[in-house]
C-alpha cells in the first residue's frame, strides 16, 4: 500500500507555478530523497505534504496527521519553556497517552535529562537541535517529513538523526527528506525524486550507481548541484 500519493499537484504563487504537475507515490516503509536546486520547489512540496500549505490543484494523500512529523528549517521549540515542558506540550498535541513519561524517556534519549527543567533559551545550539529531534520523534511517527535536515544540524545532532531515522525505518516508517547533501541522502533513500523548476525531471528507485557517483543524477537529468 502506498503511504504517500501526490496526484497532479500544481502550486501557484500568483501566476508563477512553483510546482507543476507533480505526481508520485511512495510505498509504506520507503525513504524518498527529494532533490533539486534552491527554488526548485522542494520546500514548497514538503510544506504541502506537512499541511502547512495547500496545493492549488491536485490531491495529496498521507497517513493520519497524528502519525506524521515535520521538521522544517527551524527547530520549532519554545524558548521560554523548559525542555520538559516543550516535549510534554507536543506529546499532548499528538494525543500521546502518557505525556510525562514519554517526555522523560526522550529527554534521556537525547541526553538532556540533566537540564530538563531549564528554559530552552539557556541551551546551546546543539542542545536545542537534539531537543527538536526528540520533539519530532517522540510520538514514533510512521511518516517523517524532513526539510533539509542535515544543513542546519551540528555533527552530534546529525549522528543522532541518522540513528533515529534508521530506527524509524526499522519499525516501518515512511520518510520524505529534501536535501542538498546528496551522499547522505542517497545512502538512506530507496526512491529519488528530482525537481527542476517545479517539475519532476527524474522519478524512480535509487540505484547503486547513484551512490557511487551522487552528482551524476544532476548531470543526467538537469539542474546542477
Amino acid at each position: 500500500m502506498s503511504a504517500v500519493s501526490v496526484e497532479n499537484v500544481w502550486k501557484y504563487f500568483g501566476d508563477f507555478p512553483a510546482l507543476r504537475e507533480v505526481n508520485f507515490t511512495l510505498e509504506s516503509g520507503n525513504c524518498l530523497a527529494l532533490l533539486g536546486r534552491n527554488g526548485a520547489g522542494k520546500t514548497t512540496l514538503l510544506r504541502i505534504l506537512a499541511g502547512l500549505s495547500s496545493a492549488s490543484t491536485g490531491a495529496v494523500k498521507l497517513p493520519d496527521r497524528r502519525r506524521a512529523a515535520y521538521l522544517g528549517h527551524n527547530i520549532g521549540i519554545y524558548d521560554e519553556l523548559s525542555a520538559e515542558e516543550n516535549l510534554r506540550l507536543f506529546a499532548q498535541l499528538y494525543e500521546l497517552p502518557d505525556a510525562n513519561k514519554t517526555a522523560a524517556k526522550w529527554l534521556e534519549r537525547v541526553n538532556l535529562l540533566h537540564v530538563a527543567e531549564s528554559p530552552v533559551r539557556e541551551f546551546s545550539r546543539g542542545m536545542r537541535q537534539r531537543l527538536a529531534l526528540a520533539r519530532v520523534f517522540q510520538h514514533e511517527p510512521e511518516m517523517l517529513l524532513l526539510d533539509e535536515p542535515f544543513t542546519s544540524l551540528d555533527d552530534r545532532a546529525i549522528a543522532l538523526l541518522q540513528d533515529l531515522m534508521r530506527e524509524a525505518k526499522a519499525r516501518g516508517a515512511t520518510i520524505v527528506l529534501s536535501t542538498h547533501q546528496l551522499k547522505e541522502a542517497l545512502e538512506l533513500a530507496s526512491d529519488v525524486v528530482l525537481l527542476r523548476r517545479g517539475q519532476i525531471s527524474y522519478r524512480g528507485p535509487r540505484t547503486d550507481a547513484m551512490v557511487h557517483d551522487p552528482s551524476a543524477i544532476y548531470r543526467d537529468y538537469g539542474g546542477e548541484a
Binding site: F13, G14, D15, F16, A18, R37, N38, G39, R197, G223
Partner: protein, 228 residues
C-alpha cells in the same frame, strides 16, 4: 476590442453627464429652503450608491476568490474597493461642502457621513494590507478574509449608528424640503445622474483589473527568472 468598448462607454457617460449638467444647472429651479447648493446632492447621493455597490461587488469577489483561489476575482475585489474609495471620497467631500453651507460647519457628525468615513477607513486599511503582502496568492487569501470581515463589520456599524442617532439626535443630510417631501424632478435627476457615474466606475474597475493582471504576470516572470 476591449478598449473600443471602454471608449464607447466612456463617451456615452460623458454625453450623459453633459446633458445632466445642463438640466441640473439650467432647467431645474433652486430649492425653496436650501437654494442653489442642493444641486450638490446630484453627485453626493449617486456617489454614495456607487461606492456602496463597489463595496458589495468587492465583498462578493473576495468570497469567490477565497472559495476558488481565483486571482482574477481578487483583482476585481481590489479594483472595486479602490474605485469605491474614490467615489466615497466624492461623497464625503460633497457632504462636507453641503454641511458647511447649510449648517455652517464642515463636520457636524452627521451619522450617515460618519458611517461613510468609517467605511472609508476600513477599506483603506484593506488596501494598505494589500501593499504589505508580497506573494499574490497569499495576498489574495488574507485580504479576502479581511474584506469579508470589513463588510460584516460596516454593516453592523450602520445599524449601531442608527441606534446611536436615535439616542443622541444629530443633524442629518437631506434633500427633503421643509414639508419632508422631495420634488420628483429632483429625485429622478439623482437616479439619472447615477447612470453615468456607474459607467465611470465600471470603466475604472476594468482598467484597474487589467493593470493588476499585468502586474501579476510581471511578478511571475520575475520569479521565473530567479528560480532555478
Amino acid at each position: 476590442m476591449r478598449e473600443k468598448i471602454l471608449t464607447g462607454v466612456g463617451a456615452l457617460a460623458a454625453a450623459l453627464l453633459v446633458r445632466n449638467l445642463y438640466v441640473m444647472l439650467l432647467q431645474l429651479p433652486d430649492e425653496a429652503d436650501q437654494g442653489a447648493i442642493y444641486r450638490i446632492m446630484f453627485f453626493h447621493i449617486p456617489a454614495f450608491f456607487t461606492a456602496g455597490i463597489c463595496y458589495i461587488v468587492s465583498m462578493c469577489a473576495s468570497g469567490y476568490s477565497l472559495w476558488k483561489s481565483d486571482l482574477k476575482a481578487d483583482a476585481l475585489a481590489m479594483a472595486a474597493t479602490e474605485v469605491g474609495l474614490a467615489f466615497a471620497a466624492v461623497n464625503l467631500i460633497t457632504g462636507m461642502i453641503w454641511g458647511r453651507i447649510i449648517w455652517g460647519i464642515w463636520w457636524a457628525w452627521d451619522p450617515r457621513l460618519t458611517w461613510a468615513l468609517i467605511c472609508w477607513l476600513v477599506y483603506f486599511g484593506y488596501l494598505m494590507l494589500r501593499q504589505a503582502v508580497d506573494d499574490p496568492s497569499e495576498r489574495a487569501k488574507i485580504t479576502a478574509v479581511v474584506n469579508i470581515f470589513a463588510f460584516v463589520s460596516v454593516t453592523i456599524t450602520w445599524k449601531a449608528i442608527t441606534w446611536w442617532r436615535t439616542q443622541h439626535p444629530g443633524p442629518v443630510l437631506s434633500i427633503r424640503g421643509a414639508n419632508g417631501k422631495t420634488d420628483p424632478a429632483i429625485e429622478s435627476m439623482i437616479y439619472q445622474n447615477w447612470i453615468p457615474l456607474l459607467m465611470l466606475a465600471l470603466i475604472l474597475v476594468v482598467i484597474r483589473v487589467h493593470q493588476e493582471r499585468a502586474l501579476r504576470e510581471l511578478d511571475a516572470m520575475r520569479r521565473w527568472a530567479h528560480a532555478a
